[in-house]
């Protein structure tokens, strides 16, 4: 898929994320908008996974550690055909399988997450299984920068390099904001690259909204043979909607009718510019 096609898809994904969050009157808006370009590239350009091969032992795996931005994952999975998009009208509604965090009840989702700091170990185990079985599949996990103080991330990171899991790629959605404020103020994890390098990972920085750069980074995996790869994706929380960008209140803010209309207008303009 070309960069332009990916960009158009992302605009569409953003439109849907907002649509279903408005419909549900709930959701993690800012983070879904910061990570959706990464998911777009993973599912449309990088990973060998589809509704047809989802039960295959050799499919690539995606485990979303920052489970709260599930709305981005839902719209991408629906677009891939894992379930009818109309299912998302039930998001967070009574009795729905489409809750505010990923669960395996939804086709296409590998693991239940939501409590932070769990994706890394799950991904390490899954990648280790591939090595033990001599299978070529890869494991991708998306971490939030706000969840990195969870110690379990570092336990997993340590073991990933111990077992030379070069089939594992973690991506940090580094949007710099968490619920209480800037991540550097809450518990600074910088310099992230040097920390992961010290844990035996090979690290690259990328603009998490630059499709060409994301494609290039994923194409270069593994960054070093015998080492797990980390992509630090520099992103903007609320990306794509002017009044949401870098604004803390949109962590889980839901647009009112007027705000929603403005957001749709901005997305229309974005589409027009791309075309």
């Amino acid at each position: 898929m070309t960069d332009k096609e990916l960009a158009l898809k992302s605009v569409e994904y953003r439109r849907k994320i907002l649509k279903y969050i408005v419909e549900a009157k709930a959701g993690h808006t800012g983070g879904s908008l910061s990570c959706v370009d990464i998911l777009n590239v993973l599912y449309n350009h990088v990973m060998n996974v589809s509704p047809e091969n989802f039960r295959s032992p050799v499919r690539d795996r995606y485990i979303q550690s920052k489970g709260h931005t599930v709305e981005a994952l839902y719209v991408v999975l629906a677009d891939q055909g894992f379930f009818p998009e109309s299912d998302l009208l039930t998001l967070c509604k009574y009795g729905s399988h489409y809750i505010g965090h990923p669960t395996k009840k939804v086709n296409g989702i590998e693991q239940n997450t939501g409590s932070l700091g769990h994706g890394m170990s799950l991904s390490v185990g899954t990648a280790l299984a591939a090595k033990l079985d001599g299978l070529a599949y890869r494991v991708f996990t998306l971490l939030g920068d706000g969840e990195l103080p969870e110690g379990s991330n570092w336990e997993g990171a340590l073991l990933a390099s111990h077992y030379q899991l070069d089939n594992l790629c973690a991506i940090v959605d580094k949007n710099g904001l968490q619920i209480s404020g800037p991540t550097t103020d809450v518990c600074n994890t910088d310099p992230l690259d040097r920390k992961f390098e010290a844990f035996g990972w090979e690290v690259r920085h990328v603009d998490g909204h630059d499709f060409g750069a994301l494609k290039e980074a994923f194409a270069a995996l593994p960054f070093a043979p015998g080492k797990p790869s980390l992509i630090i994706a520099h992103t903007v929380k609320g990306r794509g909607i002017s009044y949401m960008e870098n604004q803390l209140k949109w962590h889980h803010g839901v647009p009112n009718a007027e705000q929603y209309a403005q957001a749709l207008e901005e997305l229309e303009e974005a589409t027009a510019v791309l075309r």
């Binding site: 032992p57 693991q111 239940n112 799950l122 280790l128 336990e155 340590l158 073991l159």
Partner: protein, 324 residues
């Protein structure tokens, strides 16, 4: 309870030894068996397993949260994963990984809590697991098991390997005699095992308290003519309500005995069922009271709190006399 003689110790194995031997047996024909440990290869008696099947054992290091998360990832690919770690750390340090990565995500990890209860004796409260039944009973989608003897230990492991369901099994370290030589004996999760029958009293034990319960029942019969049923309630969850109701219907007093806090374990699980179903039998929960345990060996600690032949017999006698 009396210490076993040297001869008895030589005859009987610890359930942990049975666990290790059974795993080796299973691994000999099943390459999907995978043991995952947190520097617990020695304490889990898994050194021979590792020597024989080096490709089927994964060391995580001392990082129990990672142990359980990694085990869940491995199990999600179809491997039969036994995650082995001291029960005290496995069920406390990595409680959330058990809740979320194993039970909620339905990854069929076999969680093996070794040296459970007060097996570590004088090493103290950090090393005791007196909370595991209580904590894990409240986690949905998890079977909780404490085998009483070598027979139950072996069958629990074999069944765990076959079941595609998250499960927690805890073992102690001391040698455990066979509860019965009955060749028709069966083992099934969720079905308590009646190891001795009598109409005056029911003693429900689990794990390593079942053996002293049998000794106590023998003593009650020999000294006082009181005939007691003894049950190995090896599965704490799902609890065998049918058997409980059957025991309660006789009207006889009921004692529960567990190497666990008196809060939240086998005793309270039984009490909850009995009370909510209209049974008002005289009832006593025996376990470790809500305090930091006295210093001592496992046997000394169990004796101190009455989880012994003498202690259980005394409690049984009082309940029967009071009822009369």
């Amino acid at each position: 309870m009396a210490e076993m003689t040297q001869n008895e110790r030589a005859t009987y194995k610890a359930n942990l030894d049975v666990f290790s031997g059974t795993l080796q047996d299973l691994a000999s024909t099943d390459r999907t068996i995978l043991v995952v440990t947190s520097d617990s290869r020695g304490s889990g008696k898994l050194v021979p397993f590792g020597q024989k099947y080096p490709a089927q054992i994964v060391e995580i290091g001392i990082a129990e949260q990672n142990l359980v998360g990694v085990a869940a990832g491995l199990a999600s690919t179809g491997k039969k994963v036994f995650a082995v770690s001291p029960a005290c750390f496995l069920t406390a340090r990595s409680f959330e990984q058990i809740k979320t990565d194993v039970a909620y995500s339905d990854n069929p990890v076999k969680l093996i809590g070794i040296s459970a209860g007060v097996s570590y004796g004088a090493l103290g409260s950090t090393h005791h697991s007196l909370h595991d039944f209580a904590a894990l009973r409240a986690v949905h989608n998890l079977i909780v098991v404490a085998p009483a003897d070598n027979f139950e230990a072996e069958h629990a492991i074999r069944l765990a390997a076959e079941t595609d369901h998250p499960i927690y099994i805890r073992f102690g370290k001391k040698a455990m005699p066979y509860l019965t030589e009955d060749p028709s004996r069966r083992f099934e999760f969720g079905k308590g095992s009646v190891v001795r029958e009598g109409g005056d009293l029911a003693i429900i034990g689990t794990g390593e308290t079942v053996y002293p319960a049998v000794l106590a029942a023998n003593r009650l019969e020999n000294v006082y003519g009181i005939r007691a049923t003894v049950v190995s309630m090896h599965t704490i969850k799902p609890l065998d309500y049918e058997l409980l109701a059957k025991l309660a219907e006789t009207g006889a007093p009921i004692i529960t005995a567990e190497e666990h806090s008196i809060y939240g374990g086998l005793g309270e699980a039984c009490a909850s069922f009995l009370l909510q179903n209209g049974f008002r039998n005289p009832f006593k929960i025996m376990g470790i009271p809500d305090e930091y345990t006295v210093t001592g060996s496992q046997i000394e600690i169990l004796n101190h709190y009455g989880l012994s032949e003498e202690g259980i017999a005394e409690t049984g006698l009082k309940l029967v006399q009071k009822q009369a």
